[in-house]
């Protein structure tokens, strides 16, 4: 082996010996007591949430013959289906526009201007602060005359109602997307795609969006739930939506509103099941909204 003025006769490179420290497991004391307390809290929660539901279900079944209230809504009232379909379509339009607006915004904020995140998050909270009635009056005032006169036609009003719902659903969709982006290493994935020659469009479409699947589904269903139950905006804009229909039904009938509530609840559960179904196989955590 060559000997040089400053080294190399025996291997001098550092080699490390790692001592592996294994954590010891200890059984926490009072485990059974805390487990009982947990079950008690869980039972109280179940009771709190399900008691009104069970009461509503029982009340809806009191109209004889059994299930008549459901039959009245589903078979004899065409407004139920039409308002539900209308709200569903408006909800879909809201979801598409929200995704188109929010995904690139949240992505860009996370990638390029992380300092702007607090400001964007503040803006997302505005729909909680500004009542829908203020929002709808502002929209009507802004769009009841030129250059963008939208309040004079059904189509224009439909556009307005979608715009209003995009604003209303902004906090939920933004937070769902932001949580999804937090679950993936956006910067590195973007740089990896860029190094392989991909432009922004392809990066968003092929890399970012598919990895936000669960987050987008969560945001989409939250948006749909908001749109389907919304009353104020739809009512002020005179839209044949599900919210105003529910209010009307509650004013005129006794058992049918309870039946509609149960049906809506079933639809919501179905939607949640769909989230779990579409999100299966994904390694991302399903998170409906909020920060972690």
């Amino acid at each position: 082996m060559t000997q040089t003025p400053f080294g190399m006769r025996t291997p001098g490179a550092l080699e490390s010996v790692e001592a592996s420290a294994r954590p010891t497991r200890t059984r926490p004391r009072g485990l059974s007591r805390s487990r009982v307390a947990s079950w008690l809290i869980f039972a109280a929660g179940i009771f709190y949430f399900f008691l009104p539901l069970v009461a509503t279900l029982l009340f809806s079944l009191r109209l004889q013959p059994l299930g008549q209230a459901y039959a009245n809504v589903l078979e004899r009232d065409p407004r139920f289906v039409s308002s539900l379909v209308y709200s569903g379509l408006i909800g879909l339009a809201t979801i598409v526009i929200s995704i188109l607006l929010i995904v690139p915004t949240a992505y860009w904020v996370r990638l390029r201007v992380p300092r702007a995140r607090p400001y964007v998050e503040f803006i997302t909270l505005l729909p909680f602060v500004i009542p829908p009635v203020i929002l709808v009056f502002s929209l009507l005032r802004a769009f009841s005359g030129p250059p963008f006169q939208l309040s004079g036609s059904h189509e224009g009003l439909n556009v307005l109602v979608v715009c209003a719902y995009v604003i209303l659903s902004y906090p939920y969709m933004y937070r769902a997307v932001d949580s999804g982006l937090r679950a993936i290493d956006v910067r590195t994935l973007t740089e990896a795609a860029q190094s392989m020659g991909a432009g922004w469009g392809r990066i968003l479409w092929s890399v970012i969006l598919p990895n936000l699947r669960v987050a987008l589904i969560s945001g989409a269903f939250l948006t749909l739930a908001i749109v389907i139950g919304e009353y104020t905006i739809a009512s002020f804009l005179v839209r044949p939506a599900f919210g105003p229909y529910l209010a009307l039904l509650g004013r005129d009938k006794a058992f049918e509103p309870a039946a509609v509530t149960i049906i809506s609840f079933g639809v919501t559960w179905l939607a949640m099941g769909l989230i779990a179904f579409l999100g299966r196989g994904s390694r991302q955590n399903v998170q409906l909204t909020g920060g972690r």
């Binding site: 290493d185 740089e191 190094s195 991909a198 598919p210």
Partner: protein
């Protein structure tokens, strides 16, 4: 003209200088490593080559084309990341074929090339798997295949083995080198692991605080460090306080024990200096074959580091400690802790550094040599 050239490249983040006056000319097929501690600017330099950061000043040229301000997706540079950065929604084959798909190659071409690359990285049967179904080492192999699939001009690797365990790291670094040689691709490799840099590279760039400390072959870097930083960062270095007794004859004392150094140094009688000595230059015992310098001290520590045993000998109570390495052979006689031991080193082993400015003097001494 070299294949990859960085000329006076500088990068500022606000008032902070991340990289300054970086100059490098790498030939086609060369494997260059950037080695340095965290925050020394090695990754920033790599990111400037990739196009993820723009230099504040300077020029980057790849294959004769100025790419200094070119978008990263137009540079034709492949990159492997520490965190693998595989697309979780795509299978292994889709990941590897992504760059080819972007380049609108035909499906047959993509399938063929993906197959070739998966063969090269020894994962021929994993094309249909998803990244989460692979181990860390396999994921990094896929990342390597993906970065090579579209035949980039330069391959950049940003601490690709840091997240892997020691055995896989060693195995994979040999594979990376072998594949790089096989494909003849110009490669820049960032690491803080000196063993990795020295074992893989044709040339190593040692960096510190945004500056290039030294560029050279692994042999030059280890044996002829041009700055004290390189000497101390690469390998282990003993720096011992000494007092000059007769500079003309290379004599000085360390902890009161007489030592002779073959390499010339300056200093009047009684001048304090620092003496730099590699552990592998020092032998345990008074065997004359180990060198003409014999000093004694007490053994304070004996550590097994696998193939070598590292022994620490304190030359005096509370005084300097000499680290020495011995091969871990069955015949090796190990001293007891607290035992008085004699250590030996040759006169041409140590370097004398100025005690007041030790970091500046090694360079001058090496230049003299």
């Amino acid at each position: 003209m070299s294949y990859l050239e960085l000329t006076n490249v500088q990068k500022l983040f606000g008032a902070t200088v991340a990289v300054e006056s970086f100059n490098l000319a790498a030939e086609k097929g060369e494997f260059v490593s950037f080695l340095g501690p965290s925050g020394c600017g090695k990754t920033t330099t790599l990111r400037m080559i990739a196009g993820f950061e723009q230099p504040t000043s300077g020029q980057i040229v790849i294959n004769g084309q100025d790419v200094t301000y070119m978008a990263p997706n137009r540079r034709n540079v492949g990159m492997v990341f520490q965190s693998y950065a595989l697309f979780p929604n795509m299978s292994v084959a889709d990941n590897v074929g992504f760059g080819l798909k972007v380049r609108k190659r035909s499906k047959d071409d993509i399938r063929k090339r993906v197959g070739e690359l998966l063969e090269i990285v020894n994962l021929p049967d994993k094309g249909n798997r998803y990244p989460y179904q692979l181990s860390g080492g396999q994921q990094q192999r896929v990342a390597l295949a993906r970065a090579l699939a579209f035949e980039p001009q330069v391959l950049l690797l940003d601490e690709p083995l840091s997240a892997l365990d020691a055995k896989i790291r060693v195995a994979l670094r040999h594979e990376i080198r072998s594949i790089q040689r096989q494909l003849g691709i110009t490669t820049v490799y960032v690491t803080h692991d000196q063993e990795e840099a020295l074992s893989l590279s044709d040339r190593v760039v040692v960096m510190s605080e945004g500056r290039m400390e030294q560029v050279g072959t692994p042999f030059e870097i280890y044996n002829f460090p041009s700055t004290a930083f390189v000497a101390s960062f690469v390998g282990t270095l003993n720096v011992l306080p000494g007092v000059v007794t007769d500079a003309a004859n290379g004599a000085l004392t360390i902890s009161g024990q007489r030592v002779r150094i073959a390499r010339a140094f300056e200093g009047n009688l009684g001048r304090e200096v620092s003496v730099a000595l590699r552990p592998e230059m020092v032998s345990l015992g008074a065997d004359p074959a180990g060198g003409e310098n014999h000093v004694t001290g007490k053994v304070t520590d004996v550590s097994f580091l696998g193939s070598i045993v590292r022994i620490r000998v304190s030359l005096s109570e509370g005084g300097p400690t000499v680290i020495l390495d011995e091969f871990n052979e069955p015949t090796l006689h190990l001293p007891e802790l607290g035992e008085t031991a004699t250590i030996t080193f040759p006169a041409d082993g140590p370097l004398v550094l100025d005690a007041k400015a030790p970091l500046d003097s090694v360079e001058a001494l090496i230049a003299e040599a």
